[in-house]
Symmetry: C2
Subunit: 162 residues, 2 copies
Amino acid sequence: MENKFKEAEKFRYLILASQRQGNRIYKDLLFEIGVTPSKAEVISILMKYQPMSLKELGAMLICESGSPSRLVERMVKDKLVERVKEKNDSRFVRLQLTSLGIDKYKLIVKAENQMYKILEEVYTEDELQLANQVLSRFLLESPLSSNLIKRGYIHKSRDNMK
Amino acid sequence: MENKFKEAEKFRYLILASQRQGNRIYKDLLFEIGVTPSKAEVISILMKYQPMSLKELGAMLICESGSPSRLVERMVKDKLVERVKEKNDSRFVRLQLTSLGIDKYKLIVKAENQMYKILEEVYTEDELQLANQVLSRFLLESPLSSNLIKRGYIHKSRDNMK
DNA sequence: TGACAATAAATGACGTGTCATCTATTATTA
DNA sequence: TAATAATAGATGACACGTCATTTATTGTCA
Protein backbone atom coordinates (compact mmCIF):
# COMPACT_ATOMS: atom_id res chain seq x y z
CA MET A 1 0.00 0.00 0.00
CA GLU A 2 2.68 2.40 -1.10
CA ASN A 3 0.32 4.84 -2.71
CA LYS A 4 -3.21 5.40 -1.57
CA PHE A 5 -4.16 7.65 -4.46
CA LYS A 6 -5.46 6.72 -7.81
CA GLU A 7 -3.09 7.58 -10.60
CA ALA A 8 -5.92 9.55 -12.17
CA GLU A 9 -6.19 11.74 -9.10
CA LYS A 10 -2.46 12.36 -9.09
CA PHE A 11 -2.62 13.13 -12.77
CA ARG A 12 -5.32 15.71 -12.27
CA TYR A 13 -3.35 17.60 -9.66
CA LEU A 14 -0.04 17.27 -11.48
CA ILE A 15 -1.57 18.78 -14.61
CA LEU A 16 -2.98 21.62 -12.54
CA ALA A 17 0.33 22.16 -10.78
CA SER A 18 2.30 22.05 -14.04
CA GLN A 19 0.08 24.65 -15.63
CA ARG A 20 0.31 26.94 -12.62
CA GLN A 21 4.04 26.57 -12.26
CA GLY A 22 4.70 26.87 -15.98
CA ASN A 23 2.58 29.97 -16.12
CA ARG A 24 4.46 31.55 -13.24
CA ILE A 25 7.83 30.86 -14.84
CA TYR A 26 6.68 32.15 -18.20
CA LYS A 27 5.07 35.18 -16.61
CA ASP A 28 8.35 36.10 -14.93
CA LEU A 29 10.24 35.69 -18.19
CA LEU A 30 7.75 38.00 -19.90
CA PHE A 31 7.68 40.56 -17.13
CA GLU A 32 10.31 42.93 -18.46
CA ILE A 33 8.71 42.77 -21.91
CA GLY A 34 5.54 44.11 -20.35
CA VAL A 35 3.15 41.45 -21.59
CA THR A 36 1.30 38.61 -19.90
CA PRO A 37 1.26 35.00 -21.09
CA SER A 38 -2.19 35.49 -22.62
CA LYS A 39 -1.12 38.62 -24.46
CA ALA A 40 1.99 36.84 -25.67
CA GLU A 41 -0.16 34.09 -27.13
CA VAL A 42 -2.31 36.62 -28.98
CA ILE A 43 0.76 38.37 -30.35
CA SER A 44 2.25 35.09 -31.55
CA ILE A 45 -0.95 34.13 -33.32
CA LEU A 46 -1.42 37.53 -34.93
CA MET A 47 2.20 37.58 -36.08
CA LYS A 48 1.54 34.43 -38.04
CA TYR A 49 -2.04 34.78 -39.16
CA GLN A 50 -3.00 38.47 -39.17
CA PRO A 51 -5.18 40.11 -40.14
CA MET A 52 -7.98 38.17 -38.52
CA SER A 53 -11.28 38.63 -36.73
CA LEU A 54 -11.93 38.17 -33.04
CA LYS A 55 -13.78 34.98 -33.85
CA GLU A 56 -10.86 33.58 -35.83
CA LEU A 57 -8.47 34.52 -33.05
CA GLY A 58 -10.71 32.86 -30.49
CA ALA A 59 -10.72 29.70 -32.58
CA MET A 60 -6.94 29.52 -32.23
CA LEU A 61 -6.36 30.56 -28.67
CA ILE A 62 -5.63 27.93 -26.07
CA CYS A 63 -5.49 30.25 -23.09
CA GLU A 64 -9.18 31.01 -23.13
CA SER A 65 -12.39 29.84 -24.70
CA GLY A 66 -15.10 32.08 -26.04
CA SER A 67 -14.33 35.28 -27.87
CA PRO A 68 -11.39 37.19 -26.44
CA SER A 69 -13.05 40.61 -26.58
CA ARG A 70 -11.62 41.83 -23.33
CA LEU A 71 -8.16 40.43 -23.77
CA VAL A 72 -7.95 42.24 -27.11
CA GLU A 73 -9.52 45.32 -25.58
CA ARG A 74 -6.66 45.53 -23.11
CA MET A 75 -4.14 44.99 -25.90
CA VAL A 76 -5.67 47.81 -27.91
CA LYS A 77 -5.28 50.02 -24.85
CA ASP A 78 -1.66 48.89 -24.60
CA LYS A 79 -1.16 49.90 -28.28
CA LEU A 80 -0.17 46.33 -29.09
CA VAL A 81 -3.08 45.61 -31.42
CA GLU A 82 -5.03 47.66 -33.91
CA ARG A 83 -8.73 46.89 -34.10
CA VAL A 84 -10.86 48.27 -36.93
CA LYS A 85 -14.29 47.33 -38.21
CA GLU A 86 -14.37 45.25 -41.34
CA LYS A 87 -15.68 47.22 -44.30
CA ASN A 88 -17.59 44.46 -46.04
CA ASP A 89 -19.26 43.20 -42.90
CA SER A 90 -19.08 45.50 -39.94
CA ARG A 91 -20.04 42.78 -37.52
CA PHE A 92 -16.43 41.66 -37.78
CA VAL A 93 -13.39 43.44 -36.52
CA ARG A 94 -10.02 43.31 -38.20
CA LEU A 95 -7.16 42.69 -35.80
CA GLN A 96 -3.57 43.48 -36.60
CA LEU A 97 -0.38 44.01 -34.64
CA THR A 98 0.92 47.54 -34.28
CA SER A 99 4.63 48.14 -34.81
CA LEU A 100 4.96 48.02 -31.02
CA GLY A 101 3.25 44.64 -31.09
CA ILE A 102 5.68 43.40 -33.71
CA ASP A 103 8.62 44.62 -31.64
CA LYS A 104 7.28 42.78 -28.63
CA TYR A 105 7.02 39.60 -30.67
CA LYS A 106 10.76 39.41 -31.12
CA LEU A 107 11.29 39.68 -27.39
CA ILE A 108 8.57 37.14 -26.72
CA VAL A 109 10.36 34.61 -28.93
CA LYS A 110 13.43 35.05 -26.76
CA ALA A 111 11.43 34.52 -23.58
CA GLU A 112 9.81 31.43 -25.04
CA ASN A 113 13.19 30.02 -25.92
CA GLN A 114 14.36 30.56 -22.37
CA MET A 115 11.27 28.69 -21.23
CA TYR A 116 11.94 25.83 -23.60
CA LYS A 117 15.54 25.69 -22.48
CA ILE A 118 14.36 25.20 -18.91
CA LEU A 119 12.09 22.38 -20.02
CA GLU A 120 14.83 20.79 -22.09
CA GLU A 121 17.13 20.81 -19.09
CA VAL A 122 14.62 18.62 -17.29
CA TYR A 123 13.43 16.44 -20.15
CA THR A 124 14.86 14.70 -23.16
CA GLU A 125 13.21 15.24 -26.52
CA ASP A 126 11.88 11.68 -26.37
CA GLU A 127 10.25 12.23 -23.02
CA LEU A 128 8.55 15.38 -24.20
CA GLN A 129 7.35 13.59 -27.28
CA LEU A 130 5.97 10.79 -25.17
CA ALA A 131 4.23 13.20 -22.81
CA ASN A 132 2.82 15.06 -25.79
CA GLN A 133 1.42 11.87 -27.25
CA VAL A 134 -0.29 11.05 -23.99
CA LEU A 135 -1.77 14.52 -23.54
CA SER A 136 -2.85 14.69 -27.17
CA ARG A 137 -5.00 11.64 -26.84
CA PHE A 138 -7.11 13.24 -24.11
CA LEU A 139 -7.32 16.56 -25.91
CA LEU A 140 -8.30 15.09 -29.26
CA GLU A 141 -11.75 14.43 -27.83
CA SER A 142 -12.16 17.90 -26.40
CA PRO A 143 -13.64 21.13 -27.75
CA LEU A 144 -10.13 22.55 -27.69
CA SER A 145 -8.96 20.00 -30.24
CA SER A 146 -10.06 22.24 -33.06
CA ASN A 147 -7.92 25.08 -31.70
CA LEU A 148 -4.95 22.82 -31.14
CA ILE A 149 -5.23 21.36 -34.62
CA LYS A 150 -5.40 24.82 -36.19
CA ARG A 151 -2.28 25.75 -34.30
CA GLY A 152 -0.53 22.56 -35.35
CA TYR A 153 -0.04 21.21 -31.86
CA ILE A 154 -2.05 18.05 -32.35
CA HIS A 155 -3.06 16.08 -35.42
CA LYS A 156 -6.14 14.11 -36.27
CA SER A 157 -5.47 10.48 -35.36
CA ARG A 158 -1.77 10.33 -35.87
CA ASP A 159 0.67 9.82 -33.01
CA ASN A 160 -2.27 9.45 -30.69
CA MET A 161 -2.80 5.74 -30.97
CA LYS A 162 -2.26 3.47 -28.05
CA MET B 1 10.03 18.40 -41.91
CA GLU B 2 6.91 16.82 -40.49
CA ASN B 3 6.72 19.03 -37.45
CA LYS B 4 8.00 22.56 -37.31
CA PHE B 5 7.43 23.00 -33.59
CA LYS B 6 9.72 22.12 -30.77
CA GLU B 7 8.36 19.40 -28.55
CA ALA B 8 8.81 21.79 -25.64
CA GLU B 9 6.50 24.32 -27.28
CA LYS B 10 3.89 21.65 -27.93
CA PHE B 11 4.26 20.48 -24.36
CA ARG B 12 3.64 23.95 -23.00
CA TYR B 13 0.42 24.36 -24.91
CA LEU B 14 -0.78 20.81 -24.28
CA ILE B 15 -0.34 21.28 -20.54
CA LEU B 16 -2.27 24.53 -20.73
CA ALA B 17 -5.01 22.94 -22.80
CA SER B 18 -5.24 19.91 -20.53
CA GLN B 19 -5.65 22.06 -17.46
CA ARG B 20 -8.29 24.22 -19.11
CA GLN B 21 -10.21 21.27 -20.49
CA GLY B 22 -9.92 19.24 -17.31
CA ASN B 23 -11.12 22.19 -15.31
CA ARG B 24 -14.14 22.66 -17.55
CA ILE B 25 -15.12 19.00 -17.29
CA TYR B 26 -14.66 18.99 -13.53
CA LYS B 27 -16.53 22.26 -13.18
CA ASP B 28 -19.51 20.81 -15.03
CA LEU B 29 -19.46 17.72 -12.84
CA LEU B 30 -19.45 19.91 -9.75
CA PHE B 31 -22.11 22.30 -11.01
CA GLU B 32 -25.12 20.66 -9.44
CA ILE B 33 -23.27 20.33 -6.15
CA GLY B 34 -22.92 24.09 -6.13
CA VAL B 35 -19.16 24.28 -5.64
CA THR B 36 -16.30 25.26 -7.91
CA PRO B 37 -13.13 23.20 -8.47
CA SER B 38 -11.19 25.46 -6.09
CA LYS B 39 -13.81 25.16 -3.39
CA ALA B 40 -13.89 21.41 -3.88
CA GLU B 41 -10.14 21.28 -3.31
CA VAL B 42 -10.47 23.24 -0.07
CA ILE B 43 -13.25 20.98 1.14
CA SER B 44 -11.23 17.84 0.37
CA ILE B 45 -8.22 19.18 2.25
CA LEU B 46 -10.26 20.30 5.27
CA MET B 47 -12.06 16.97 5.40
CA LYS B 48 -8.73 15.27 5.87
CA TYR B 49 -6.69 17.76 7.88
CA GLN B 50 -9.06 20.09 9.73
CA PRO B 51 -8.87 22.08 11.82
CA MET B 52 -6.16 24.16 10.25
CA SER B 53 -5.07 27.75 9.70
CA LEU B 54 -5.23 29.71 6.47
CA LYS B 55 -1.47 29.40 6.19
CA GLU B 56 -1.55 25.64 6.58
CA LEU B 57 -4.33 25.39 4.02
CA GLY B 58 -2.37 27.55 1.61
CA ALA B 59 0.63 25.28 2.03
CA MET B 60 -1.47 22.38 0.74
CA LEU B 61 -3.47 23.95 -2.04
CA ILE B 62 -2.45 23.38 -5.63
CA CYS B 63 -5.08 25.59 -7.22
CA GLU B 64 -3.56 28.81 -5.95
CA SER B 65 -0.43 30.14 -4.33
CA GLY B 66 -0.35 32.64 -1.54
CA SER B 67 -2.86 32.63 1.25
CA PRO B 68 -6.37 31.74 0.18
CA SER B 69 -8.10 34.47 2.22
CA ARG B 70 -10.66 35.31 -0.39
CA LEU B 71 -11.40 31.78 -1.48
CA VAL B 72 -12.13 30.92 2.16
CA GLU B 73 -14.04 34.17 2.56
CA ARG B 74 -16.44 33.09 -0.16
CA MET B 75 -16.76 29.65 1.40
CA VAL B 76 -17.63 31.18 4.75
CA LYS B 77 -20.32 33.17 2.98
CA ASP B 78 -21.55 29.94 1.39
CA LYS B 79 -21.74 28.37 4.88
CA LEU B 80 -19.30 25.70 3.79
CA VAL B 81 -16.53 26.65 6.18
CA GLU B 82 -16.42 27.99 9.71
CA ARG B 83 -13.65 30.48 10.44
CA VAL B 84 -12.83 31.51 14.01
CA LYS B 85 -9.84 33.23 15.53
CA GLU B 86 -7.40 31.01 17.36
CA LYS B 87 -7.49 31.61 21.09
CA ASN B 88 -3.80 31.16 21.83
CA ASP B 89 -2.62 33.31 18.96
CA SER B 90 -5.25 35.46 17.38
CA ARG B 91 -3.16 36.08 14.30
CA PHE B 92 -4.25 32.64 13.19
CA VAL B 93 -7.70 31.57 12.15
CA ARG B 94 -9.11 28.13 12.73
CA LEU B 95 -10.84 26.66 9.69
CA GLN B 96 -13.31 23.83 9.85
CA LEU B 97 -16.02 22.43 7.63
CA THR B 98 -19.61 23.08 8.55
CA SER B 99 -22.05 20.20 8.37
CA LEU B 100 -23.07 21.53 4.98
CA GLY B 101 -19.43 21.39 3.94
CA ILE B 102 -19.20 17.80 5.08
CA ASP B 103 -22.32 16.91 3.12
CA LYS B 104 -20.84 18.49 0.03
CA TYR B 105 -17.71 16.43 0.45
CA LYS B 106 -19.54 13.20 -0.16
CA LEU B 107 -20.98 14.56 -3.39
CA ILE B 108 -17.58 15.90 -4.43
CA VAL B 109 -16.09 12.42 -4.08
CA LYS B 110 -18.69 11.15 -6.50
CA ALA B 111 -17.91 13.91 -8.99
CA GLU B 112 -14.21 13.19 -8.70
CA ASN B 113 -14.80 9.54 -9.38
CA GLN B 114 -16.75 10.43 -12.49
CA MET B 115 -13.80 12.55 -13.56
CA TYR B 116 -11.36 9.73 -12.94
CA LYS B 117 -13.57 7.35 -14.84
CA ILE B 118 -13.38 9.64 -17.86
CA LEU B 119 -9.60 9.70 -17.59
CA GLU B 120 -9.42 5.96 -17.16
CA GLU B 121 -11.45 5.48 -20.30
CA VAL B 122 -8.75 7.29 -22.21
CA TYR B 123 -5.68 6.02 -20.42
CA THR B 124 -4.39 2.82 -18.92
CA GLU B 125 -3.05 2.86 -15.38
CA ASP B 126 0.46 2.44 -16.76
CA GLU B 127 0.15 5.43 -19.01
CA LEU B 128 -1.08 7.61 -16.20
CA GLN B 129 1.75 6.43 -14.03
CA LEU B 130 4.24 7.23 -16.76
CA ALA B 131 2.75 10.66 -17.30
CA ASN B 132 2.82 11.28 -13.58
CA GLN B 133 6.48 10.36 -13.38
CA VAL B 134 7.30 12.80 -16.14
CA LEU B 135 5.29 15.65 -14.66
CA SER B 136 6.65 14.97 -11.17
CA ARG B 137 10.21 15.50 -12.28
CA PHE B 138 9.48 19.05 -13.42
CA LEU B 139 7.44 19.87 -10.36
CA LEU B 140 9.94 18.53 -7.87
CA GLU B 141 12.09 21.59 -8.56
CA SER B 142 9.23 24.05 -8.16
CA PRO B 143 7.86 26.00 -5.21
CA LEU B 144 4.74 23.87 -5.50
CA SER B 145 6.70 20.73 -4.70
CA SER B 146 6.23 21.33 -1.01
CA ASN B 147 2.46 21.47 -1.45
CA LEU B 148 2.44 18.39 -3.66
CA ILE B 149 4.57 16.44 -1.23
CA LYS B 150 2.34 17.39 1.70
CA ARG B 151 -0.64 16.17 -0.29
CA GLY B 152 1.13 12.96 -1.21
CA TYR B 153 1.07 13.52 -4.94
CA ILE B 154 4.81 13.52 -5.41
CA HIS B 155 7.67 12.10 -3.39
CA LYS B 156 11.20 13.28 -2.81
CA SER B 157 13.44 11.61 -5.36
CA ARG B 158 11.58 8.41 -5.89
CA ASP B 159 9.91 7.52 -9.17
CA ASN B 160 11.31 10.69 -10.62
CA MET B 161 14.61 9.40 -11.86
CA LYS B 162 15.40 9.34 -15.54
C1' DT C 1 -39.16 44.74 -48.81
C1' DG C 2 -40.02 43.93 -44.13
C1' DA C 3 -40.20 40.88 -40.15
C1' DC C 4 -37.35 37.61 -38.29
C1' DA C 5 -33.39 34.49 -37.76
C1' DA C 6 -28.41 34.21 -37.53
C1' DT C 7 -23.99 35.93 -36.48
C1' DA C 8 -19.94 38.71 -34.33
C1' DA C 9 -18.68 41.28 -30.86
C1' DA C 10 -19.44 43.73 -26.53
C1' DT C 11 -20.85 43.61 -21.92
C1' DG C 12 -22.46 42.07 -17.13
C1' DA C 13 -21.62 39.14 -13.49
C1' DC C 14 -18.94 36.14 -10.86
C1' DG C 15 -14.99 33.65 -9.32
C1' DT C 16 -10.51 33.09 -9.48
C1' DG C 17 -5.00 33.89 -9.54
C1' DT C 18 -1.11 36.91 -8.51
C1' DC C 19 1.47 40.44 -6.41
C1' DA C 20 1.96 44.26 -3.29
C1' DT C 21 0.58 46.53 0.72
C1' DC C 22 -1.81 47.15 4.98
C1' DT C 23 -3.42 45.79 9.69
C1' DA C 24 -3.41 43.29 13.82
C1' DT C 25 -1.04 40.46 16.86
C1' DT C 26 2.85 38.18 18.87
C1' DA C 27 7.91 37.57 19.46
C1' DT C 28 12.36 39.56 20.20
C1' DT C 29 15.74 42.23 22.14
C1' DA C 30 18.08 46.40 23.38
C1' DT D 1 9.44 47.02 29.34
C1' DA D 2 9.36 49.76 25.23
C1' DA D 3 10.76 49.92 20.53
C1' DT D 4 11.23 46.91 16.81
C1' DA D 5 10.93 42.82 14.04
C1' DA D 6 8.31 38.99 12.48
C1' DT D 7 4.16 36.74 11.27
C1' DA D 8 -0.86 35.71 9.73
C1' DG D 9 -4.32 37.29 7.53
C1' DA D 10 -7.00 40.97 5.07
C1' DT D 11 -7.28 43.99 1.35
C1' DG D 12 -6.33 46.76 -3.04
C1' DA D 13 -5.37 46.39 -7.68
C1' DC D 14 -5.15 44.14 -11.91
C1' DA D 15 -5.73 40.56 -15.33
C1' DC D 16 -7.76 36.85 -16.46
C1' DG D 17 -11.52 32.79 -17.50
C1' DT D 18 -16.26 31.41 -18.01
C1' DC D 19 -21.00 31.75 -18.88
C1' DA D 20 -25.08 34.36 -20.03
C1' DT D 21 -27.10 38.33 -22.03
C1' DT D 22 -27.24 42.33 -24.97
C1' DT D 23 -26.23 45.06 -29.11
C1' DA D 24 -25.28 45.80 -33.79
C1' DT D 25 -25.23 44.12 -38.26
C1' DT D 26 -26.26 41.00 -41.97
C1' DG D 27 -28.90 37.04 -44.07
C1' DT D 28 -33.26 34.85 -45.22
C1' DC D 29 -37.42 34.20 -46.87
C1' DA D 30 -42.40 34.89 -46.66
